[in-house]
């Protein structure tokens, strides 16, 4: 029996194809990204080794830091909105009728492609005929905003569909976690005279804090690499007002043919993601210790 289940040939046959794929298409490219960052290269011609020049430029590049700040803003915004989703999930999971249907309705935007969402919201934000401004006009607002064309608010306008897209996803996760809280615990608390709010804050929330940490991580890392919606809706504009790290990398590499510098940005993105993952797990851990 042992002999059959440790047949080396079969093990290789079963694992090598998948292993080859992730090594060739994920791990080696990551290493190459750091390496290409050391090159002056337009993507077609000869690569010229220029040492750390690209990385030095990157550290002094104002656009890169503005983009990073925008990505971090999105991360902060997404994390803060988790509290809203959590509140909604608490209500949904408290044995109310129709929670199943509501939860599914909330999830629908998550199933759509970012392109469809981006195109739809570009229409919603249309300054003259869009739903957003017509709605504002109905409430008597006179100077309606131009949304995506206004550098001061373009980034925040994009945050709205991002929140819209992911709300149902996080509610779904919290709902599933809350449903896993054993009924006996809640019944016992009720018998002891705990109020609904006390049960929510003292019992349910602590019990799902593990899941909450996971979602914070998902929201932070997901925000840092956010790309599709911004690329379609504004392309990082107007005038860099909604540029994020991934869109800046894409522009440098595939629009301006600075593959060397683009790779350096891509490598910066990887480092930032790893640092933020570490930082988030550190922060959520210390919070847990206090509890």
């Amino acid at each position: 029996m042992k002999k059959v289940m440790s047949n080396k040939f079969v093990i290789a046959l079963y694992t090598l194809p998948a292993l080859f794929l992730i090594l060739a298409l994920i791990y080696i490219p990551i290493v190459l990204s750091g390496y290409y960052g050391l090159m002056d290269w337009d993507g077609i011609g000869q690569m010229t080794f220029i040492g750390l020049d690209n990385y030095v430029t990157l550290i002094q590049d104002k656009v890169f830091w503005t983009s990073t700040w925008h990505s971090l803003l999105l991360a902060i915004f997404s994390t803060a909105s988790l509290l809203l989703y959590l509140a909604i999930s608490l209500v949904l999971a408290s044995k109310i009728k129709g929670s199943d249907l509501l939860r599914k309705i909330y999830l629908i935007p998550m199933l759509l492609s970012s392109v469809a969402i981006a195109q739809l919201w570009m229409k919603i934000f249309d300054p003259t005929n869009g739903m957003a401004n017509k709605l504002l006009e109905m409430f008597g607002v006179e100077n309606t905003p131009v949304w995506l064309a206004d550098p001061a608010i373009a980034l925040f306008a994009i945050f709205i569909p991002v929140i819209w897209q992911y709300a149902g996803f996080y509610i779904l996760i919290y709902y599933a976690a809350l449903k896993n809280v054993p009924d006996e615990v809640i019944e016992a608390a009720k018998i002891d005279g705990a109020s609904a709010l006390q049960i929510a804050f003292k019992i349910k929330l602590p019990l799902i804090s593990g899941i909450f940490k996971v979602t914070v991580m998902l929201a932070v890392v997901g925000s840092l690499k956010y790309f599709d919606l911004i690329y379609v809706m504004t392309g990082g504009g107007p005038n860099g007002a909604s540029e994020v790290i991934a869109s800046y990398m894409y522009k440098e590499a595939f629009k301006l043919n600075n593959f060397g510098y683009g790779s350096a940005i891509g490598f910066g993105l990887l480092v930032l993601c790893l640092v933020m993952t570490w930082l988030t797990s550190k922060l959520t851990k210390s919070k847990d210790d206090v509890q």
């Binding site: 079969v10 093990i11 292993l19 759509l112």
Partner: protein
């Protein structure tokens, strides 16, 4: 929340006897919560309703009348226009076969790996599994330039092969994560008995393990399908000719050309999201289950 409901509660105090006061208060509280949940549902769904409305309107209607009005005379011609004047049919077909092929590849390769890691005993199984799990953390955007260069040197740029390979590789980590939980929870006795009976390992895998894992395979398959169907960056970067574009990239370029024909834009977008919505209508439980499983494990 309480601020809004307290005036009503206070006025009720005067007229309602003690016992039913509590239940009425409860009812008002519940009504208020329902209202919030309902408003949130409208926010989530109304933009799509609005999209369907303007996909059936003429430009005059879109520009001249309230965006909340029903289409007066539904312009089904917008849909025929969207379907025939671009390559939507071709993009649609590409999306379908690329999605199906990638999902099939991902599921079979992921099953192989999960089987080898959980059912067979070998030295490096932990390390190999770790490699797959860590790959989940890597942002795909950081791999785009090297991947582009790699495919370019192999003449795979503007070829669907690059897309299928990328989809498969990047979906393997999550798929293995979900399968892993299922395999670990599943009893090994049946497989062990089969070994005793002298069954070959391939027969065990294909005739016992794979059929047993059909429930989790269908869940992960659906999740993978949604991800692939909606994927944008890889196709936008690696594919340049219309021949191999998928629906997401296709409609993005196509919609850009229309600029002001709202009806046609709306119809194109509706066509692109209808398959997903139909899938959701029939498979919502599986989709919900898969999304929850994928995220929690991640």
């Amino acid at each position: 929340m309480s601020k809004v409901s307290s005036p009503q509660a206070a006025s009720l105090d005067l007229s309602v006897p003690d016992k039913s006061k509590k239940s009425l208060l409860n009812k008002i509280g519940f009504g208020f919560l329902y209202l919030i949940l309902g408003v949130f549902a409208i926010i989530q769904i109304y933009p799509l309703v609005w999209l369907v409305f303007f996909s059936l309107k003429t430009n005059q209607e879109v520009f001249g009348m309230s965006p909340f009005s029903l289409p007066q005379d539904p312009q089904w011609a917008n849909y025929t226009k969207a379907w025939t004047s671009g390559n939507i049919g071709l993009y649609f077909f590409n999306s379908v076969w690329i999605t199906i092929l990638s999902v099939a590849l991902t599921l079979i390769l992921a099953s192989f790996v999960t089987f080898a890691v959980t059912r067979m005993s070998w030295k490096f199984s932990g390390l190999v599994l770790g490699l797959f799990l860590v790959a989940y953390m890597i942002p795909l955007h950081s791999t785009l330039i090297p991947l582009f260069n790699m495919y370019n040197s192999m003449n795979l740029i503007d070829s669907p092969v690059s897309i299928v390979l990328s989809y498969t590789a990047f979906n393997l980590p999550l798929t293995i994560m979900i399968l892993l939980g299922f395999y670990q929870a599943f009893p090994r006795e049946i497989e062990e008995a089969a070994v005793m009976d002298g069954c070959s390992i391939h027969r065990i895998f294909f005739q016992i393990t794979l059929p047993m894992t059909v429930p989790v395979l269908s869940t992960t398959g659906i999740i993978n399908m949604i991800y692939n169907w909606n994927e944008f960056v890889f196709v936008n970067t690696f594919i340049s000719s219309d021949k191999w574009k998928t629906l997401t990239v296709g409609i993005n370029n196509f919609v850009g050309q229309y600029l002001t024909d709202w009806g046609a834009i709306g119809a194109t977008l509706v066509i692109s999201i209808v398959p997903i919505l139909l899938a959701f209508l029939f498979l919502s439980d599986k989709i919900v289950e898969g999304m929850a499983a994928g995220s929690v494990k991640g």
